[in-house]
């Protein structure tokens, strides 16, 4: 196994419940450096819960989440599903704030902004950004401190196709630089194009963990979208609410 493929984060038999409602059951997962792992699944399948557990924001009810990557001031970078920042500050001030918390300089923060293609918006107020720009600032924030693991919760949600492609390009660059990227997305075409691995979550269980091609082969389909439709338990157009009778 090369350095680029070493494990950096391991989830072992993770359960996560809210009261009597079990959202994740026995989830095991290993994230490796230099790869993009995409989490797909229907609404209500537990994706955000898994992401929050993986990012260390929620403790698992059972099981363990172990960081086993290199020493780092910041082990895991995180982009929330709806990123938002303190109003009244510019983009550069906002990123400089986070950079200082991770021991980086303002110029390093601006370099991260440049890497996501948003250098021209450095002086703009964060509350004057479009949704796509806010997400790009969020991704720049998630990479501050060069965390070996970056977790992105639906980074392309609600964006136009060109912006979605740009965000997935940024994700590819991150992985190419050795970062383990874990993201959730409903844009299965871009996932198929970008992800090294696809984790399919349904009703709190991982029902597939492998390459997009392997999932298509397993289901006998020609695209990830078809494989997804073949795989999920819920009927099309319905949301399976966990903990409720179906």
């Amino acid at each position: 196994m090369t350095d680029a493929e070493r494990a950096v984060l391991e989830l072992s038999d993770v359960d996560r419940s809210y009261g009597k409602v079990s959202v994740l059951e026995g989830v095991s997962l290993t994230l490796r450096a230099g790869s993009v792992t995409a989490l797909i699944g229907p609404n209500g399948s537990g994706k955000t819960t898994l992401i929050r557990t993986l990012a260390g924001l929620d403790d698992p009810t059972e099981g363990t989440v172990d960081y086993c990557g290199p020493e780092s001031v910041r082990q895991i970078g995180y982009l929330p599903q709806q990123p938002a920042f303190r109003p009244g500050q510019s983009v550069s001030d906002t990123l400089a704030f986070y950079a200082t918390l991770a021991g980086e300089s303002e110029s390093e923060a601006l370099a991260r902004l440049e890497r996501v293609g948003l250098a021209d918006a450095a002086d703009r107020d964060v509350d004057a950004l479009s949704g796509g720009m806010t997400r790009l600032v969020g991704i720049a924030q998630a990479t501050i401190g060069s965390p070996p693991v970056v977790v992105l919760d639906e980074p392309a949600s609600g964006l136009d196709p060109a912006m979605c492609v740009h965000i997935f390009d940024v994700v590819e660059q991150l992985a190419a630089n050795g970062t383990a990227v874990f993201l959730s997305s409903h844009d299965l075409a871009l996932v198929e194009r970008t992800a090294d691995r696809v984790v399919l979550l349904d009703a709190g269980d991982i029902i597939h963990d492998g390459t997009p091609d392997a999932l298509c082969d397993e289901r006998g389909t020609s695209s990830l979208l078809e494989a997804f439709e073949e795989s999920i338990a819920a009927e099309a157009g319905t949301v399976q609410v966990q903990g409720e009778a179906t």
Binding site: A55, Y78, R86, F97, Y98, T100, L101
Partner: protein
């Protein structure tokens, strides 16, 4: 390029304080707030007639209005301080940085405290100008002994008011960590205001009437309420010394301890809440 060691606590606190000052204090809305507050305090002081009489009469005129205004100021600046970061998801993001809960609580508190201190000091300091100009008779003795009006007594009042405001800000920050929605933040802020302004004082009055507090312990039990503790401190250290001897209205030591416990206890509660 990447830092190998996390920043020390001083750097983390300074960074959080600067952000609070930048986003909550150095804003046009705060300037308007400060201007309106200053106008209200000057208006109250002028209309009360204390300005023409001297510093201590001005303290007497301002005390009751400030008992209402200061909780409003502290809660306005503090009740959404942490709640809004939580709503935006920034608390989740901050958890992925080497920032402890206490860094955040203390940093936010100090940053907002700068705004609260300015909101108290600016209006009350400006009130001193007309007192110095129009006060009659002009104060000749700059000392704090009994029977003499003095700007030093007024400054004691100002310092005690700052202390009171800082304690209430700590309570507001604690409330901000306990609430889960903006609607509950507003409701909790209002409820806190009512409890601080009326509830605790009424509780002490009932306690005294019901025999839970004896006559000798009453002056100490007043320290249970931040408002009574503040009022007692002002009476004992800024008004009574000028108006001569009389029955003791409060225990300054108990009041200081009471206010300190309210302030530090609130910051502790806020930190523990964020750690959960």
């Amino acid at each position: 390029m990447t830092a190998e060691t996390p920043p020390d606590s001083g750097t983390l606190l300074r960074t959080i304080v600067f952000r609070e000052v930048d986003t909550a204090i150095l804003q046009p809305s705060y300037a308007v707030f400060l201007t309106v507050l200053t106008a209200v305090v000057l208006g109250v002081a002028w209309s009360g007639g204390g300005i023409q009489a001297g510093y201590v009469p001005t303290v007497v005129d301002l005390l009751t209005p400030l008992e209402l205004l200061i909780p409003l100021v502290a809660i306005a600046l503090g009740y959404r301080a942490i709640r809004n970061d939580e709503r935006r998801g920034e608390l989740d993001v901050l958890q992925t940085y080497p920032v402890a809960a206490w860094h955040l609580v203390v940093g936010v508190y100090i940053g907002r405290a700068i705004g609260v201190v300015l909101a108290v000091v600016v209006p009350l300091a400006l009130v001193m100008l007309p007192v110095a100009a129009y006060g009659s008779p002009p104060p000749l003795i700059y000392a704090t002994h009994s029977g003499a009006d003095s700007p030093w007594l007024y400054l004691r009042f100002l310092v005690l008011t700052v202390l009171f405001a800082l304690v209430l800000l700590a309570i507001a920050v604690a409330v901000s960590t306990l609430v889960t929605t903006t609607r509950t933040a507003i409701a909790a802020g209002t409820l806190t205001l009512v409890i601080l302004l009326f509830g605790l004082d009424i509780g002490i009055a009932y306690g005294f009437a019901g025999g839970y507090f004896g006559e000798t312990s009453l002056i100490h039990s007043l320290a249970l309420s931040p408002l009574s503790a503040y009022r007692g401190l002002v009476f004992e250290t800024a008004i009574a010394v000028a108006s001569g001897t009389g029955p003791q209205t409060a225990s300054p030591m108990s009041s200081v301890v009471g206010l300190s416990l309210w302030g530090l206890g609130s910051l502790f509660v806020a930190t523990r809440t964020l750690q959960r």
